[in-house]
């Protein structure tokens, strides 16, 4: 049964990918036994499934995802959070405060105010309701320091790497704490701004070149080179 593309070919929405015994995977759809791409991206097969790794997509919430969001509004019994997707999320006050509370605006804004950043988990989501967040687990909650960057959500798995190899390597080389929100928002917290900038540069490089091979080596090399320069500069500053 025919396939109409080469591995990792760049395809546009509506391009015919396969016909017959194949199954429509990510960013594809099937009509009358034909599989078409629905987003611009790189097409590949995984067994009988035809997938397109989208080069441009937005985040659709999934229960259990860790996300980083910004508080948009303080409401009566919770906060509205932007998670950079089509839907804004809700964080209930009852999830944050361990005791029953009286709905007074002032009290809530003291805990979390508009503009604050949080790391949270998607607790529930369905077609009829906006996603609900929870911060009731270790590692979740308000963010107090670090730098934030936005990455296309489909690239996050590449930043993580196989069994977390890529992200562990970056953390190690830069000494930074990195939290990857599956909504594409990344938090980098390092000892110095230079360390943070380095981690950010590495992540940006992965985002740009995510579909290529040998990326792990190139990123490692970049980090080692830059770190070498930083250490050299520190030495120079010491000797002045």
């Amino acid at each position: 049964m025919p396939i109409f593309f080469e591995k990792k070919q760049l395809v546009t929405p509506g391009e015919l990918l396969a016909e017959g015994e194949y199954l429509p995977g990510e960013n594809t759809y099937m009509e009358q036994n034909k599989i078409y791409a629905s987003r611009i991206g790189l097409v590949d097969t995984d067994n009988k499934k035809v997938n397109v790794v989208a080069l441009r997509a937005f985040y659709v919430p999934k229960v259990g995802d860790i996300v980083i969001g910004t508080v948009l509004e303080v409401g009566f019994n919770g906060w509205t959070i932007s998670i950079k997707g089509p839907y804004s999320a809700l964080l209930r006050a009852s999830d944050v405060l361990s005791r029953p509370f009286k709905p007074q605006n002032d009290e809530l804004s003291a805990v979390l105010n508009a503009g604050d950043l949080i790391v949270a988990k998607i607790a529930s989501y369905d077609r009829a309701h906006d996603p609900q967040l929870t911060v009731g687990e270790p590692g979740l909650g308000k963010i107090t320091r670090g730098q934030i960057l936005q990455v296309t959500p489909t690239k996050i798995p590449r930043v993580i790497g196989r069994k977390g190899s890529m992200i562990s390597m970056i953390k190690q080389e830069t000494g930074c704490q990195i939290i990857l929100g599956l909504n594409g928002v990344v938090l980098v917290t390092g000892k110095t701004p230079e360390d943070e900038d380095l981690a950010i540069e590495a992540i940006r490089k992965i985002e740009q070149e995510s579909h290529t091979s040998g990326l792990t080596d190139r990123v490692t090399q970049l980090l080692k080179e830059r770190k070498g320069k930083i250490e050299q500069k520190v030495e120079e500053n010491k000797n002045e």
């Binding site: 929405p13 509506g14 009509e31």
Partner: protein
């Protein structure tokens, strides 16, 4: 600056702008030209210069316009006051209102509206310079803007017009041909699905001429579709090549 040609098409079949009956005007498309929009595209088609931007899917404002089970597409076609021969008032004209509606109806069949309920996608088209066939060029650019925003689509929507001037059915009328000609038939099309999403006609044509013009326009659509796909790939190709060094 008002050029009114004597004859729209001469005995040798050459039109007043030098083209043959089935020749398209020069076309240039660029994707991702505006940094604030989720997706954007710019088209130059003949003397037409049009900018399209897409925002979303995002929450609908006002909220009561959101639909519980689907995504809503809104479209605004607007012409800049300096885009035409005689300055046009910035207020939306009845023509702009109608075109906004037909352009939206041309793009909507490409979207999977059931995928993102309660959200909206807003498409804005600004005609910076007009020379006939702006609704078609707008649709071609708007579809690219939507794809550039990462909104899933069944296919890109492409559009082209054909018409009749001096008893000859021709492709891609420019403004003088549209105004002085006998008929204009704009068509929007999703080539992979063989689906016509916009079809209008004003003028007078026999059934045979109407069929001929529609087919000619579809052929023009298929040719522009190749340019459209290339423009989209070009923006993302740069990204691909950067990694292969």
């Amino acid at each position: 600056m008002n050029e009114k040609p004597e004859k729209l098409i001469d005995k040798k079949g050459i039109r007043s702008d030098g083209r043959k009956a089935d020749e398209l005007r020069p076309l240039k498309l660029q994707v991702g030209v505006l940094s604030n929009a989720d997706g954007s595209a710019y088209i130059e088609h003949g003397k037409n210069k049009i900018l399209a931007a897409a925002f979303g899917p995002r929450e609908m404002h006002p909220k009561h316009l959101a639909m519980p089970d689907r995504m809503v597409l809104r479209c605004r076609y607007h012409m800049a006051p300096f885009s035409v021969q005689e300055r046009k008032s910035p207020a939306p004209s009845r023509r702009e209102v109608e075109l906004s509606k037909v352009i939206k109806e041309a793009l909507e069949p490409a979207l999977f509206t059931e995928l993102y309920p309660r959200t909206g996608v807003d498409v804005f088209v600004e005609v910076l310079q007009a020379d006939g066939g702006t609704r078609c060029a707008s649709i071609t650019a708007a579809a690219l803007a939507i794809a550039d925003a990462g909104v899933p689509m069944r296919d890109l929507v492409v559009a082209c017009a054909a018409g009749k001037i001096d008893d000859t059915v021709v492709l891609d009328l420019y403004d003088a041909e549209d105004k002085l000609g006998a008929a204009d038939v704009p068509v929007a099309y999703m080539p992979s699905l063989n689906a016509i999403t916009l079809l209008q006609m004003d003028g007078i044509l026999t059934m045979q001429e109407f069929e001929k013009a529609t087919n000619m326009a579809l052929d023009g659509c298929r040719r522009i579709y190749e340019v459209q796909k290339e423009a989209l790939k070009t923006k993302y190709m740069v990204v691909k090549e950067a990694g292969e060094e």
